[in-house]
Subunit: 153 residues, 2 copies
DNA sequence: GTTGAAAATGCTAGCCG
DNA sequence: CGGCTAGCATTTTCAAC
């Protein structure tokens, strides 16, 4: 991994601005944080090169795109299943939005978004069909309490 | 909720483009999807008005910003704790990045990012201090297998 | 870090099919 | 729904301080 970047309060302000609106102009950010347009651009470029900023993206309301069902599925797997193989196994399942491995009871937590319960079930079946997945536990997301920032890891 | 938007294949392409790079120009998206700059802008404006696009944001690598620890904490709560009160209780805890209520064993799942284990512990203590939180289970995130899109709900 | 300037690119609105 | 054009804003890269 590249070395960490020392980022100051101004960088935090810029990142905050861009979190709130990723398409904001450097000029307008500069007004807010007290820098010139050129200075803001230099900092953003530097944060990109340093890997702090990994990209920009659009926020999409999946419900309005016809995928109203969100679920978190815990995967309990055999020890033999490596991270790379698991990643490849998850790849083809279109409903998967995110997946992480964790310590504790479950081994992996998969987040998925589906158009209806049939597709949710099909996706969960696909998860169960992965070799060395012993057990799944599906939790439907009922409501979103906090969504503070889009983070990439 | 506003009525759903009928979105076609072109909209999907545009959303895909913007997912990959939220700052991409309408002209460059237009080249990809076979539309003029203005036509792309009109579609993006429409997707925004329809609530499909809820915003744009920057993707930040928290590790490089000095917050290398990510955890998912399951909250088991009493029935008396309403969504609004829970939301207010979570608000002041800076480490919280996301929180959802779910069906199943746990009632709420909180995702947080911390600078070190001390701060993680402090954040978990703060969660335990919320009235009617009976029990917490903390799972440290080990690796990210899939991060397909940043979604807002 | 700043400013200012110039060229390229991007955005937006109006008009038309 | 689309394309086009014209005017304006922004980005980007300079040089100079």
């Amino acid at each position: 991994m590249a070395p960490d970047l020392r980022s100051d309060k101004t960088d935090d302000l810029i990142l905050g601005s861009l979190s709130a609106d990723g398409r904001r102009s450097f000029a307008s950010i500069g007004l807010e944080v007290g820098l010139s347009t050129a200075a803001v651009k230099r900092r953003v470029d530097r944060l990109r090169r340093a890997g702090v900023i990994t990209g920009f993206t659009v926020l999409i309301d999946q419900k309005r795109l016809g995928r109203p069902i969100e679920a978190l599925v815990e995967l309990h797997t055999d020890g033999v299943l490596g991270v790379d193989r698991l990643r490849r196994a998850l790849g083809p399942i279109a409903e998967i939005v995110e997946a992480v491995t964790v310590t504790g009871d479950a081994d992996t937590i998969v987040r998925l978004v589906a158009a209806d319960t049939d597709r949710l079930e099909a996706a969960v079946q696909a998860l169960r069909a992965i070799p060395s997945v012993r057990k799944t536990e599906t939790n439907i997301v009922l409501s979103h309490l906090v969504t503070r920032s889009a983070t990439a890891f």
